[in-house]
């Protein structure tokens, strides 16, 4: 694309965007900067970004020692991963059946799905908590994962995708003698991959970030997910050691940010696709 010469309008636009970008990046800049400052420097309230005395090692050691970061991150990955796998395995066949196969329950299912989209975890949390409590299943991976194993949004998204897929593809496979299961495995899944990755991004971001449900069902630090772990850290910390606090937030924020930076295009496509279909 030919770049137009630098007109006044262009300069204005670029300046606005750049100033805005700086404002938006400010938290990250200060986070990285403060994670390396010692207590005294933080309390002197300077605006300088480069620490006068590099306390990165001290702060990070403190962060790692107070809360088991590795455990937190592992829990996060495990929980989000299991949730995602379950959601996809359960939603894809269901969406396929609703979109392509004729059966009488289809319409009722559709209403159920639309209804389910309206109801967030926050609404169903109370009875679920009581149930898990009665079953003594609190403080477990099951409790963290189970309510999310059914994602109505996933069904909705894949339904749109399957509806758009030409029937001929499936007819051709049937003519070739493939069983229904074979069709799902060898025709559906490869074609559904873009939708699946789009949904995966949406699901992982949502559940990585979720504080509400883990807060409710987990009191044992060993099962804490990253948001919860950070909350525990804040409680454990007297609240004044901002250096260590920033170090902790840096460590916890890093994984998803790195994944995002590496897979930006996919991220944005994912949000866009889920948005356009929604």
């Amino acid at each position: 694309m030919m770049t137009a010469p630098m007109s006044f309008g262009r300069v204005c636009r670029l300046s606005l965007l750049s100033i805005g970008a700086l404002v938006f990046l400010a938290p990250y800049i200060f986070m990285i900067s403060t994670a390396g400052k010692g207590q005294s420097e933080i309390f002197s309230a300077t605006l300088s970004l480069i620490p006068q005395q590099w306390a990165y090692v001290a702060n990070f050691t403190k962060a790692f020692s107070r809360v088991s970061m590795g455990n937190l991150l592992w829990n996060g990955v495990l929980v989000c991963g299991i949730i995602l796998v379950l959601q996809v395995i359960i939603a894809v066949p269901c969406a396929y059946a609703m979109a392509k196969l004729q059966f009488r329950g289809a319409r009722i299912m559709m209403s159920l799905v639309m209804l389910g989209l309206l109801i967030p975890i926050h609404a169903t949390a109370l009875p679920l908590y009581v149930a898990f409590d009665k079953l003594s299943m609190l403080n477990s991976y099951t409790a963290l994962v189970a309510p999310f194993s059914i994602s109505v949004f996933a069904i909705f998204l894949f339904l749109q995708f399957f509806r758009a897929m030409p029937d001929d593809l499936i007819h051709a496979a049937r003519l070739d003698g493939m069983s229904e299961a074979g069709i799902v495995a060898r025709v559906i899944v490869p074609n559904a991959w873009p939708s699946v990755t789009a949904f995966a991004i949406f699901s992982v971001v949502a559940h990585w970030n979720d504080l509400f449900w883990p807060l409710i069902v987990i009191t044992n630090q060993g099962y804490a997910t990253p948001p919860l772990g950070l909350l525990f850290f804040r409680a454990a910390e007297a609240g004044d050691d901002y250096g260590a606090l920033m170090a902790a937030t840096l460590i916890i924020t890093l994984p998803l940010v790195i994944v995002f930076l590496l897979a930006q295009k996919r991220f944005v496509e994912g949000i866009t696709m889920t948005g356009l279909k929604g």
Partner: protein, 304 residues
């Protein structure tokens, strides 16, 4: 001849088989939907009519007593009010900023990828963590924001600690966190606008960017704007992480929000029945918001 009447035709058997397969494929989902969505929702509604408290053995049905109590509960009313104010600030600002940034990025060929990444970064970051960072930024005495304002002689307020300001502080964080999401949706909407419409507008005499915006961009963004608005409103109403992490509803209930109140009543004070009634109110608000979108504006905004 009689045989044909008594047995099923091949077409019918195939149909039956298809239906059986369908039920098979859908049954796990149906089961889980009943278990984790339908039943709990019914349970919440039912519990809202009881005085159930976790830890106490028995409970009784109290009809609409919970709802009566809610109406005079000052904390709940403050919570409703705060959530409304928060939503009223965050939603329009984050939509306007999202649109503005999307327009700027769209019209500027260079650096598109970079700016998109920067503005979207907050969305991809752990909210609890970034809230903590903002707490440092907002710190009244050692926080960079107030230090920066002091350079211009402006005395920075106690962003998260003063009851008159705390909602604004939380709103700033909420806006920061959601602008990128709106921006991405608007960018998608902008690229979907057919280029020929802009050519036609140019030929028709629309010379300034404002003319083009009013004639083509804004009307064609209708469905996107609607979707963004709905999502934004609902996400604002569901605010929780920042409240729990930073203010716990304080100071003095000044930042008490719906979900936090439900959390407190139901999971800290364990008054499950009462909290269920609150949850029903919360759910009703969500449903009404969604319904408003669908019935009133959806038709107006889709042109085909």
């Amino acid at each position: 001849m009689a045989d044909a009447v008594l047995t099923m035709s091949p077409v019918e058997t195939a149909g039956r088989r298809e239906a059986r397969t369908a039920w098979l494929l859908a049954s796990p989902a149906i089961l889980l939907m009943l278990l984790f969505i339908v039943l709990p929702t019914i349970a919440v509604i039912v519990l809202g009519f009881t005085d159930f408290e976790l830890g106490y053995g028995s409970f009784r049905f109290v009809g609409l007593e919970n709802y009566h109590e809610l109406m005079s509960d000052r904390t709940f009313r403050k919570s409703l009010w705060n959530t409304t104010v928060y939503t009223a600030i965050v939603t329009p600002v984050s939509i306007a900023l999202g649109l503005g940034i999307a327009l700027l990025i769209e019209s500027e060929p260079r650096g598109r990828s970079f700016f998109r990444t920067v503005y979207f970064l907050p969305v991809a970051s752990l909210l609890v963590a970034m809230a903590t960072v903002w707490q440092y930024l907002f710190h009244p005495s050692i926080g960079p924001l107030n230090t920066f304002l002091a350079l211009f002689g402006i005395p920075g307020p106690n962003w998260l600690g003063a009851s008159s300001i705390v909602l604004y502080g939380l709103s700033i964080i909420g806006i920061w966190q959601s602008v990128g999401f709106n921006m991405v949706l608007f960018l998608a909407g902008l690229t979907a606008i057919p280029r020929e419409l802009y050519s036609a507008a140019e030929v028709d005499g629309a010379k300034s960017s404002l003319d083009r915006f009013r004639l083509v961009t804004w009307p064609m963004l209708g469905p996107t704007t609607l979707f963004v608005t709905t999502i934004s409103v609902i996400n604002s109403v569901k605010v929780f992480e920042t409240v729990k992490t930073l203010t716990e509803g304080g100071p003095n209930k000044a930042s008490e929000m719906l979900l936090f109140t439900i959390y407190q009543e139901g999971f800290v004070y364990l008054k499950v029945g009462y909290a269920s009634a609150m949850t029903v109110v919360f759910l009703a608000i969500l449903v009404v918001l969604m319904a408003l979108q669908y019935w009133f504006l959806d038709r107006k905004v889709h042109y085909t």
